[in-house]
């Protein structure tokens, strides 16, 4: 809402400058976004009187003028304007002024034009930021020859009345009354504690009986509770007066002609949209507010034919729709050059009805935006009278003295208990009751028998808390003290929250940096990681109105998001990265139910120090520090629980388990996928299931006494087939040694000269210990015999 301060001054005198006005209004609840002094963009432009004009000695198309700018000496200006004559008053941009035409800016300088000095430039409407709507007598394509009452040297802003201050308010949806000059004037009066003057409009019309010409009926009295209509005969279409044009312009509305301007003026002044119908196109003079009938259509003012639905409310004549109620008029309903008689409408349409209709038709208009927030049901006759008063004042036609008021409204002003003690207790303040009463009366809230009566224009006052807010904002939010919440609260992170915090700490400790990716991805990402067509991961939570395909589905796997970030870093030539993110997957559960949103830990890395085992090592340390027991790794085989396995190198990836529970997948990214992402180096990633990690983790730690007896150690170098897994060997050794095993650790894998082709040598360090006594050499040797026997069964020999 753009407010003209000059217009505001009709109703309230705040006595402060614009800056102070804006600050105080913001603090009392009418937020000012910005204010603009119109004259600032016209600085340096003054009225000049052309004293003489002659043809330029070196150019036939140019003229040299001597111009009086109010100084002691006239100045010389070269122009190409043909429409200026001796004696004309014109706007002159003086040297040093920056003028803007369209998108181009230029600074006026003293310059020689074809050898003749020129000290300024004549301006047209465009240069002044105006159009012919602002000054209908001016030629839009030539220099603006002023017909205003002004003198040479005068600032152009004051000469043409472009010197208002326009204040831009952000009005919240609960205060449609403030989408008007009078509404804001009321707020200003309350804020500055000064009187508000709003005269009651009145007009003198002809004694013609309106009902002879016009018949108004409301069929749907639920959706239209009030419809007022007035009639104006013999309209004289023309420009509206300069004061009206100025105010409209400062309010951000372009002047059109007197009748249209009047409807806009009343809308801005009172917040009530007005509509004007050409009586010729209201067949049989019948206006009926009803629901559209099946198959009915209307061509709206914008020239678009629209199909109407039976749920939509329309204004119809005896035959056809002539307007969509509260949204837009029909093609022929507007004012035209040859319009003679005009019907003014001022009505109340039910907000939800208007909102739904406007939405369904895709037409959000200034009018619909106002109706859908809720208007004052008592204002229709007043605004109609105001419009007719303006018609009379402007001589724009002959109002008929009688009007029609179809009124089904039953405004019951809500009564809200006025309880000063409760208000103070709620706000934490100590405001005297008398002050509260004063604040409320400034806002037109009457108090009767301990009850606040909500004024008809305040649709938002329903409960004691609403009254508390009114008191608080006039008292000043910042006068409310600051206190500490009383009482004791026990706060603690839940085990899950602590667990997730540890994950972050461990991962940064392992050299991984946290990242932040979008939750939505492109469905194409599934193809990028080579996901099978029938994968369950392709069943997504899909956004019906996405910004674009790129962000149209909620991720069912965090892997592609990580790969995108790795690819981004690779393309920026970052040599090595280690990244992690704890984020969510969104797994659909059904068409009408919410998806599951489990947390996932995703790791990604590439660089010189990255290989399968550095990634696996990181995962191992993570699981150890989180207390996840019985960890084992298996190849991603056919029964792999993760569909993302397709994105990994088949020989260099693994599923990690705790016991029988899968925890996640890790490994080198498949070369094809790497290529698809444009990453030119081996890349590694892991995805771990946080809830599974949490469920598997053992939080409690019990101290085990340090060993009392010495250990026996044996090193074992074995020769086995190339495809024998170290894990199998370890397991076999562990089982064969039995209870006294303390540790079996791989320390070497060798392939080469002394080893038969297709085989490898694997060496382990085995530590054994008895808890109750010193282990003997015989016992250790016996254990080794068992080990070799078990290994022998696998075809593994001592080297």
């Amino acid at each position: 809402m753009d407010l003209s301060l000059r217009w505001l001054a009709d109703y309230v005198e705040t006595g402060v400058d614009p800056k102070e006005f804006c600050a105080a209004m913001t603090m009392s609840g009418s937020k000012v976004e910005a204010y603009t002094e119109e004259k600032t963009r016209l600085e340096g432009i003054v009225v000049g009187k052309i004293l003489s004009k002659r043809v330029h000695e070196n150019a036939d198309a140019l003229f040299v003028c001597s111009v009086d700018l109010g100084g002691s000496e006239p100045v010389q200006i070269v122009t190409n304007a043909k429409n200026v004559q001796e004696g004309d008053l014109v706007p002159v941009a003086t040297p040093g002024t920056t003028v803007t035409e369209g998108t181009e800016s230029m600074k006026i300088k003293v310059a020689k034009v074809r050898g003749v000095e020129s000290r300024g430039m004549f301006c047209g409407l465009e240069t002044l930021g105006l159009t012919q709507n602002d000054f209908p007598y001016a030629d839009p394509d030539a220099v603006f020859v002023l017909q205003e009452d002004c003198v040479p040297g005068q600032d152009i802003a004051s000469a043409i009345g472009v010197d208002d201050v326009s204040v831009e308010f952000e009005i919240t949806s609960n205060r449609p009354d403030c989408l008007s000059v009078i509404g804001l004037a009321r707020e200003a009066a309350a804020t500055f504690n000064v009187p508000l003057h709003v005269p009651t409009p009145s007009f003198t019309g002809s004694d013609e009986g309106i009902t002879k010409t016009l018949d108004v009926s409301i069929e749907n009295t639920e959706k239209c509770t009030r419809y007022c209509a007035g009639l104006v005969r013999n309209v004289k279409i023309g420009p509206s007066p300069r004061w009206m044009r100025e105010r409209l312009r400062a309010s951000g509305v372009r002047p059109i002609n007197n009748l249209v301007d009047i409807t806009n003026y009343v809308m801005l002044e009172y917040g009530q949209p007005m509509h004007a119908f050409d009586l010729r196109f209201v067949k049989d003079g019948k206006i009926c507010v009803r629901n559209a009938r099946a198959g009915e259509t209307i061509t709206t003012l914008d020239g678009v034919e629209r199909a109407l639905k039976e749920t939509m409310l329309i204004i119809a004549d005896s035959e056809k729709p002539i307007a969509v109620a509260g949204v837009m008029g029909g093609e022929y309903s507007g004012i035209m050059e040859d319009t003679v008689d005009v019907v003014f409408e001022s009505a109340y349409f039910e907000p939800v009805q208007v909102r739904r209709t406007a939405k369904a038709l895709g037409m959000r208009t200034d009018a619909s935006a106002r109706y859908e927030k809720g208007l004052d049901e008592t204002s229709m006759p007043i605004t109609l009278a105001r419009a007719l008063q303006l018609v009379q004042e402007l001589g724009a036609g002959e109002p008929v003295g009688t009007t029609i008021d179809c009124n089904y409204a039953d405004p019951k002003a809500p009564r809200i208990p006025f309880d000063p003690a409760w208000i103070n207790a709620f706000l934490g303040t100590d405001i005297p009751e008398a002050d509260m009463r004063d604040y409320l009366s400034r806002l037109d809230i009457q108090i009767e028998d301990g009850q606040c009566i909500s004024p008809s224009f305040r649709i938002d006052l329903l409960r004691p808390a609403d009254i508390a807010e009114e008191v608080a904002r006039i008292y000043g939010y910042n006068n409310i003290p600051s206190t500490v919440i009383r009482g004791v609260a026990r706060a603690q992170l839940t085990p899950e929250q602590r667990f997730e915090r540890s994950i972050g700490q461990i991962m940064t400790g392992l050299g991984f940096s946290g990242i932040l990716t979008y939750s939505f991805i492109s469905p194409k990402y599934f193809d990028k990681i080579g996901l099978p067509a029938d994968s369950k991961l392709r069943k997504t939570v899909t956004i019906t109105n996405p910004l674009g395909e790129d962000t149209s589905v909620m991720q069912t796997t965090t892997l592609p998001g990580m790969l995108e970030i790795l690819a981004g870093n690779y393309s920026k030539r970052n040599a090595a990265v280690r990244l992690f993110e704890v984020s969510k997957e969104y797994l659909p559960t059904g068409p009408d139910t919410l998806p599951e949103e489990p947390h996932r830990l995703t790791l990604g890395m590439y660089g010189d120090d990255a290989d399968f085992f550095t990634l696996k090592g990181a995962v191992e340390v993570l699981l150890e520090k989180l207390g996840v027991p019985n960890v084992r790794y298996t190849r991603c085989g056919e029964a792999c629980p993760y569909d993302e396995a397709c994105a990994f190198h088949p020989g260099r990836s693994a599923v990690v388990y705790s016991g029988e529970t899968p925890l996640g997948i890790l490994g080198e990214i498949h070369p094809d996928v790497q290529k698809t992402y444009g990453i030119g180096t081996r890349t590694y990633a892991a995805k771990l299931d946080v809830p599974a990690l949490f469920a598997a983790a053992v939080e409690e730690i019990t101290y085990k006494p340090l060993p009392k007896f010495p250990a026996m150690t044996r090193d074992l170098a074995l020769v086995c087939e190339e495809d024998m897994a170290v894990g199998t060997l370890e397991e076999t050794i562990a089982n064969a040694v039995g209870r006294c095993l303390e540790k079996v650790e791989l320390f070497d894998v060798y392939r080469g000269e002394q080893i038969e082709a297709g085989k490898k040598s694997v060496a382990f360090n085995i530590v054994m210990r008895n808890a109750e006594e010193t282990m003997t050499t015989d016992q250790a040797d016996a254990a080794m015999k068992r080990v070799l026997k078990a290994l022998g069964a696998l075809g593994v020999e001592l080297r």
């Binding site: 609840g29 909102r355 807010e469 839940t494 940064t508 990716t517 019906t544 949103e597």
Partner: protein, 341 residues
């Protein structure tokens, strides 16, 4: 014989003082004091002496031996120390060369600030609640006093999954979940992702982060809301940080406020950063609307409460002077490396 002993002593003394390494010193020890050494050779002649001369000569010989042994020991220590010093000198490193760093990971700046805010609230007795991001319309709008045709819905461009399911536009959706599952006193925060259909640019993202706060108990006042937010901002920005509350409208709070924090660049004087306002808008807050309480089964005549919602990105960007929000989601290592946490 006496002269011989004296001469050996003098000879040995000179030799020991001139010796330069441990090996040569040991050779001297053998030469003078060894079994076949010069001193031993002299002592072997003791038998030839008279009984009267023997004790005196024996005494002198032992004196010489002990002197020489002492000298050798001292010299040994001196030479060992010199050798140690030489070795240490040889091992001198260029300590200006860079250290060998283990890989270092850092938290994302948003995570750093979120953790900080969590800790501040934990210290004030707030627990942390979680809620779904894909949410029913009911929790995001309807239960927050935003019925289906409420015009305030327009201000939050919503991503829809179905007519009834959407991506939450505000963490306020967690309020009702909390009220449905907990009885007052309630003191929780709920950080998380929220979604609005805003095209990506330097200051907009379709996904961003909020931290919701909710307090419900008997006798909670608007002054408590002010005090709590003031404490938060002072912890975040220092003890002299001031806040300012402006009346505003949120359908689920009444009274509602927008909260500005004093610009920490100019301390309220007005500068380019705060667009000459002296204050920067940081969050929305208010007293929980009685309708919202009742709708969630809490007696609004007995209980009152406040709620607030904080935009994390804005705090992060201000704190680190980040002018483009896209940097937060690009995760360029060169960006991430600049943070400590």
């Amino acid at each position: 014989m006496k002269e011989q002993l004296r001469s050996i002593e003098a000879k040995a003394q000179e030799a020991i003082s001139n010796v330069a390494d441990l090996k040569a010193l040991d050779d001297l020890r053998v030469r003078f004091l060894g079994k076949k050494g010069e001193l031993t050779a002299i002592l072997k002649q003791m038998g030839k002496l008279s009984a009267e001369e023997r004790p005196a000569m024996g005494q002198l010989a032992n004196q010489v031996r002990s002197t020489l042994e002492g000298l050798i020991a001292d010299k040994t220590a001196a030479l060992q120390a010199a050798a140690q010093n030489a070795r240490l000198a040889a091992e001198t490193l260029d300590i200006t060369m860079p250290g060998t760093k283990p890989p270092v990971g850092r938290l994302h700046p948003l995570q750093i600030v979120e953790n900080e805010v969590r800790e501040i609230f934990l210290g004030m007795g707030f627990s942390v609640a979680d809620g779904p991001e894909v949410e029913y319309d009911y929790y995001n709008f309807e239960a927050l006093n935003l019925p289906p045709d409420h015009p305030a819905r327009d201000t939050q461009d919503t991503f829809y999954i179905t007519d009834n399911i959407l991506l939450r536009t505000q963490t306020s959706s967690v309020q009702v979940h909390v009220m449905e599952t907990q009885k007052p006193p309630i003191r929780v925060i709920s950080p998380g992702r929220v979604y609005r259909s805003d095209a990506v640019d330097a200051t907009h993202s379709p996904l961003f982060h909020q931290i919701e706060g909710l307090v419900i108990d008997k006798g909670i006042t608007m002054a408590d809301l002010k005090g709590t937010l003031e404490l938060l901002m002072q912890r975040l920005y220092g003890d002299d940080c001031k806040i300012r509350l402006r009346p505003h409208h949120f359908p689920f709070t009444e009274p509602s406020a927008e909260v500005d924090v004093m610009c920490f660049q100019c301390m309220g004087k007005g500068c380019r950063m705060c667009k000459n306002e002296g204050y920067i808008e940081l969050l929305g807050a208010g007293m929980v609307h009685p309708w919202v309480l009742e709708n969630s089964g809490i007696d609004s005549s007995a209980y009152s409460g406040f709620a607030f919602g904080l935009g994390l990105e804005r705090i992060v960007m201000r704190r680190y002077n980040i002018s483009d929000m896209r940097l937060l989601f690009e995760n360029d290592m060169r960006f991430l490396e600049q943070f400590r946490g």
